[in-house]
Symmetry: D2
Subunit: 323 residues, 4 copies
């Protein structure tokens, strides 16, 4: 992999439905980057376009990154976090809105290219529905296929990673699993459409992160990864390793084995936690997991334990904790 | 039952984590009540103390209610929606904070009594934890039992309804099921501690609403009910009947059979929906369900279909849709 | 649609992990068909190959079907319910086992063709894993793509419907969502690979049945449908409509709108229920839902309520229960 | 704690709904004990009454235990795994069946006393319902309270542990959470009614095992523990630690801190896995977790990290993997 980044939203106020003004003071983009720059083991910064970085402030942003020896490692097109998108972006019944979604994506691709970033993310959290009998599903799928295709055709040197999620903010999202995202990418017929795998979203979709990562990588469509953890039911965005030790270890094992060459970003939302602590906890965990998958005996762990049932689990724990 | 109310938060901005300033303009308490007053079939208003109604504005509030022939039908003590409570209320490690929670509850009970309201609700959404190894669970339980007991002893003419919920805002809440709430109520030894049953929360806890309602009523601890619906996994707070037709019909059947004599309030959170529509949809559904459970043939539906497997389901649909 | 069928397994003993010899006496295939023949409103019978019907008994089977004016409406290739498949079928590490899976599929296609059945189902419940670090996910995906492709190439006049399911019997199955099944079908490059949509499996995968059906139909890959209901968390295989009234109504609405032309089979597993009751309850419900979606005012229900939030839910209930 | 046991059902055939004759050959009770006796680190055996051990074979059973230096560490009353119980045991509408459940419990208590076993388990998996409108919930609760009370009064020297579970075999079980089990125990008014905590069942009920264990222990009602792991959604009964490392570590931490003095049994169901492997994997994990919670620095881990958010998670990983 290229390195480890941090999403700047991790340093937000922690707003939610109940405490809408959040648990922490507001920091602007540049203050957030100063914070991230203090974290040892972080190589990159992920932002959203155009809310965080845009034509106006991209120069100042670049200067700050250079100053701290940080790289722009990820960029999401903001198509969710404003009520203007409440009826959808790429699937809005309003053609002007769909056009705006495509146009914003094109601009984001251009900005990414300027920064040498080879892919951006599309998380379409407002493209879905709250209630049954509310939307035309066939038209929505058609709009997704055509809209994403048109967005992708803008320039082949920047790829689009579809970040799937079962729900939120809409009660049900169209791109709700790794399989659905893959099917959509394939349906566009464009090689530069793939997936941004958010590990927490995969767990919510009842997927095993390592398994879906391996499939996406086998199909040459795994472009970017968001790291966070949860208690399986909802998108808690907790520090990496808070809950799923074995599944994270297996994910890192497969990313190494399949030569994943993209970035990984911490995508955390530490409501009542200090973002610095949440990042440090995650960085420590990721670094330990990478040490473990580099153990020589780890190389053949699957082959060695093939057809031996839970022997594979014990083999891992023996390597980690001793026999 | 006494009647149907509406929680004033239903007419809020619809703030959430992604669209923190919500999807709709802000309405003050009095504007919200004006809106509620336009709804046919609504008898009551539910508020939180002291945020919505308090010593200062209670006179004006009462006047407005009288004007519209509305009753105060529910009151929640606000112990969640401000960052001051982020380490808990009744279970905070800080004794001053625990004392404040008890004191606020006492004040709410007094205000309720002034309005002739026989019970208030305690939803302790910040009493829980985000991470493992974070809290002292035994101390927390002890604080719950003692704190709720002390709160309840203030006056026997106002009861406390514990509103359980599996999670949110804390990733895991202590009072996380109808059974846990009942056990806690029993442990206080106070007859005026019981439960506010939020139907959506029951579904999230993998409970059948009618079953837990019957148990709580059998134990004389079902004081108040919040109505809303969801897709089972999270607290979507959608209009009543959006998803669970059969389970809602069964709930109303059991509330009638067991002579539930409290209020029911619409507890909705229509992010992208017009609150008036969300209420109207709910009121229409509730009214139709109540018509159905009043069919004479419905009286013996369980006895008639006992030990006949899914015959019970067909019997319901035959009554509703014809044979 | 072509008509409504019943899976013969619905009339099995109801075996499960706890009561391994089931709740009911064993009936052989022909006794099961006699039972199904008594059900008014049923046009077809679904079986598994080669366990239920095979070269040896296909003549007798055809005679019995003709006698009762029933059609063979579905056929599953049995690749799960014997311990020989415990390490997988199409993804077994053993090439002979993979070859056997393909060969059995070819034979099933031939038998289907003899009966004029245009598609068969592949439910690969043993192709998955119990534990992390147990399987080679990349190899498994590759085997799926190549194996299904090879199976499909046998004859273009019979299609293969991949029946996805999140888990069971393996703790995690590879083909675990409608999206994953669609992506796999696309990856084979064969037009006669599509999906058998089991509505209960869709609910377990947190999908909305109508939505995924519309997407699959839009991609010309929706070949067959299994009907049953559950409480969302597990594959309860209860009578249709036991839980999800609105979502089933919406599914039938979309199947009509998109001119779904395949069969639907009752895929029930009434452990402690009489299968005749479970079928009758389901048939009554399906028939009522089809009446409702044929109401003239139902035709434009989505267009009429577009951008009106939960107005769509109320519109449905008003049509069904009156205003 | 007293020691670690193994449930003899772990060495069963692995029957399930799909492979009803299981994945492995049948072993009788004595063969199973011989297998268990080969496991290093196991002190006890758990059985069900009267299916495994009863008046007839208890002498032979005792001899075999003595021979292998094993203790009878747990006993479940078999009220589920035969179709005779399909309409319930303690809540059956048939008074004779309820009487039989109580009488069997009394006999089990007597046998337990003979073996010096201080508690037995009641898992009432058939006391629940499949469908709405099927059962009288108020009567069922009443029968539970009265029946369990009557069972418990038989002799104060043997306690009853209610083993709660959300579902299975019935689609919904009455005793479905740790809170509900505690409330029921309290409602009986008997000090010798408490809980058998099955960790997997707790996870299915969206509980945190350490938290519910601490509450039950604080109420002096935690009598026995079943160990196994799952992917959160269903009762997979996989080896301990297969999935939930942090939550298991926290559980062992709290059991030590609160001086839990009962037994823990492996309650596994290794369908496609060798039971010996499944036990060895579990025993290794349990032993490592107990080593970790004995680290001196672990003693004050909660106090040291109080109010520091995810610092607690990092503290654990630093102790385990180094800084």
């Amino acid at each position: 992999m290229k390195g480890l980044g941090v999403g700047v939203w991790t340093f937000g106020m922690g707003s939610e439905r109940y405490v809408s003004d959040g648990y922490k003071p507001y920091l602007n983009l540049f203050e957030r980057i100063e914070k991230i720059a203090t974290l040892s083991g972080v190589d990159g910064v992920e932002i959203t376009f155009p809310n965080d970085v845009n034509i106006e402030n991209s120069g100042k942003f670049r200067t700050l990154l250079d100053q701290h020896n940080l790289t722009l490692c990820g960029m999401g097109v903001e198509l969710v976090c404003d009520k203007e998108w409440q009826s959808g972006s790429f699937t809005s019944p309003d053609p002007q809105r769909r056009a705006k979604a495509i146009s914003l994506t094109h601009s984001a691709m251009d900005l990414a290219a300027e920064f040498g970033l080879s892919n951006i993310s599309l998380w379409l959290g407002q493209d879905g529905f709250d209630y049954t009998f509310q939307n035309d599903y066939a038209a929505a799928w058609n709009n997704l296929v055509e809209g994403i295709r048109e967005a992708a055709k803008h320039r082949p040197d920047v790829s689009l990673g579809l970040e799937y999620k079962t729900s939120e903010p809409q009660m049900a999202c169209y791109i709700n699993s790794g399989g659905k995202a893959l099917a959509l990418a394939q349906a566009t017929g464009q090689p530069n459409v793939g997936i941004t795998l958010d590990v927490g979203h995969a767990l919510n979709a009842r997927e095993n992160p390592a398994e879906i990562a391996a499939v996406l990588q086998a199909e040459n469509r795994l472009f970017h990864i968001h790291l966070n953890d949860n208690y399986s039911w909802a998108d808690d965005d907790m520090p990496v390793g808070s809950v799923h030790f074995m599944q994270y270890l297996e994910l890192f094992y497969w990313l190494k084995k399949l030569n994943y060459s993209g970035w990984m970003s911490l995508d955390l939302y530490p409501y009542r936690d200090d973002p610095i602590e949440a990042c440090k906890t995650s960085i420590h965990f990721v670094s330990k997991m990478q040490e473990i998958v580099d153990y020589p005996r780890f190389d053949h762990i699957i082959e060695d334990n093939r057809n031996k049932g839970s022997r594979s689990i014990r083999a891992v724990y023996e390597l980690v904790f001793g026999e």
